[in-house]
């Protein structure tokens, strides 16, 4: 009898969760309230767990550093040669300087509009690309607020609880950002693939875009402010069928190694 009750309860919850998934208004409201209540208890626990893992992180990092020291040395020599070459590219650097100055001006202009947060976890499923930060509604973070690092766009807040928030990273399959190529009129949608490399969609084959072009947010998607660095073009394939080019983008930020991020408060 007790076993039958457990199975009946399971079937009822199965039905409720199905309706929650399909966004049935009445169910999803109650479900969200219950879920956020449960999530609020997770926040402090996650912060507590992060403390000892910082030590593990340090030990692991030191070990990896030691193992990679020799390889890093060779890599540094190679990079030195590259930097000597890059020094000759003054105009390009000037343009980059302008972009960074714009970012700096943006930050100086809106000192109260940025909230610094620490990354305390990531999505349990590798089907979704999401990070968890240690600031939530208690720090005035709201859904759809853009999240950045000084290197570029990270993503947007998708679920906010009192203690922590979930940030959908731009390489998630559900993410798309309106971007334009720096110094050009080419615009497109930067979409996540679930992998490291992103896709730039809806760029015509005739549009002016080349390997090495930097992409900045256009500010036209209503989420990300204009001028934030998003990524760099690594391949452009104009030989595939159709009117649009197949373009791969490498994001500026390494989302696996994020420790601190900045959340842009909406005015």
């Amino acid at each position: 009898m007790k076993n039958s009750i457990a199975i009946i309860i399971a079937i009822l919850i199965l039905i409720i969760s199905f309706f929650a998934f399909t966004n049935t208004p009445l169910v999803v409201r109650g479900y969200s309230t219950f879920k956020s209540g449960f999530s609020e208890t997770i926040g402090p626990m996650l912060k507590l767990i992060t403390k000892p893992t910082d030590l593990v992180r340090y030990i692991f990092g030191s070990y990896v550093n030691l193992m990679g020291a020799k390889r890093e040395n060779a890599e540094l020599k190679r990079r030195l040669d590259m930097l000597l070459l890059e020094n000759q590219k003054i105009p390009e650097l000037e343009r980059e300087n302008k972009r960074l100055m714009a970012l700096l001006r943006f930050m100086e202009k809106n000192p109260k509009s940025l909230i610094a947060a620490r990354v305390i976890g990531e999505d349990l499923k590798n089907w979704y690309k999401c990070i968890i930060i240690d600031k939530g509604s208690g720090s005035n973070i709201k859904e759809k607020m853009p999240v950045i690092t000084p290197r570029g766009v990270v993503g947007q807040a998708v679920e906010v609880d009192r203690w922590h928030s979930k940030v959908m990273v731009i390489n998630d399959t559900n993410s798309s950002v309106d971007v334009s190529a720096e110094g050009k009129n080419t615009r497109g949608l930067l979409e996540g693939t679930g992998q490291t490399v992103l896709k730039l969609k809806y760029v015509l084959k005739t549009d002016d875009i080349e390997i090495g072009d930097k992409l900045l947010t256009s500010g036209k998607d209503g989420i990300y402010p204009k001028g934030l660095p998003a990524g760099i073009v690594i391949t452009v394939n104009r030989n595939k069928p159709g009117i649009f080019a197949d373009i791969d983008i490498m994001p500026f930020s390494n989302f696996k190694h994020l420790e601190e991020v900045l959340v842009i408060k909406q005015q």
């Binding site: 007790k2 076993n3 009750i5 457990a6 199975i7 309860i9 399971a10 079937i11 919850i13 199965l14 409720i16 969760s17 199905f18 309706f19 929650a20 998934f21 399909t22 966004n23 999803v28 479900y31 969200s32 879920k35 449960f38 999530s39 997770i42 626990m45 996650l46 767990i49 992060t50 893992t53 593990v56 992180r57 692991f60 990092g61 990354v119 305390i120 976890g121 990531e122 999505d123 349990l124 499923k125 590798n126 089907w127 979704y128 690309k129 999401c130 990070i131 968890i132 998708v158 679920e159 979930k166 959908m168 998630d172 399959t173 559900n174 693939t193 679930g194 992998q195 696996k256 190694h257």
Partner: protein, 163 residues
């Protein structure tokens, strides 16, 4: 008592997985640490214990994931029900057969998720992404399940069988 201990260990492992694995480059191999606990409690402690563990683990996983509302809980409950209905068919006599069953259920979980997305929304944006990770996740979950089973059996023999 047993169910409380197992569920607590399961929840703790999920928290550690979320915070610890974020900096270890194991993106392709991400174990589903909830499944071994759901299967163990459902098979060895009965449906009542199984549903309690499934609910807690399901909500915890939803809390630590950007997956759509209800999706992970739905899949976990479905796995619980399948485990209960297959109870007499599944023969687990060692940690290896347990690991094999856990791996199988991780594969099933992926297909259940894709089916749910297709049925409920008529589309599944990340089908390829889910399929890409299915086998690595299943293999790694099976590997971790060996240790989880051994640890639970150790706890049983050392502390919990006295109840």
């Amino acid at each position: 008592m047993k169910i409380a201990v197992y569920t607590f260990i399961g929840l703790l492992l999920l928290l550690v997985e979320s915070s610890l694995l974020s900096f270890i480059p194991l993106e392709i191999f991400k174990p589903d640490l909830g499944i071994p606990f759901i299967i163990y409690t459902s098979l060895f402690l009965g449906p009542q214990a199984g549903i309690i563990a499934t609910l807690f683990i399901g909500f915890m996983q939803e809390g630590l994931s950007a997956a759509p509302h209800g999706s992970i809980l739905f899949v976990n409950i479905a796995i619980f029900l399948i485990t209960i209905f297959l109870k007499r068919k599944l023969y687990i006599d060692s940690k290896y057969s347990f690991a094999f069953v856990c791996s199988g259920f991780v594969v099933l979980e992926s297909f259940l998720f894709i089916t749910l997305s297709l049925l409920a929304r008529g589309e599944a944006d990340n089908v390829l992404n889910i399929l890409f990770y299915t086998i690595p996740n299943a293999v790694f979950t099976g590997f971790i399940a060996i240790f989880i089973f051994s640890f639970i059996e150790y706890l049983n023999v050392r502390y919990l069988e006295r109840e």
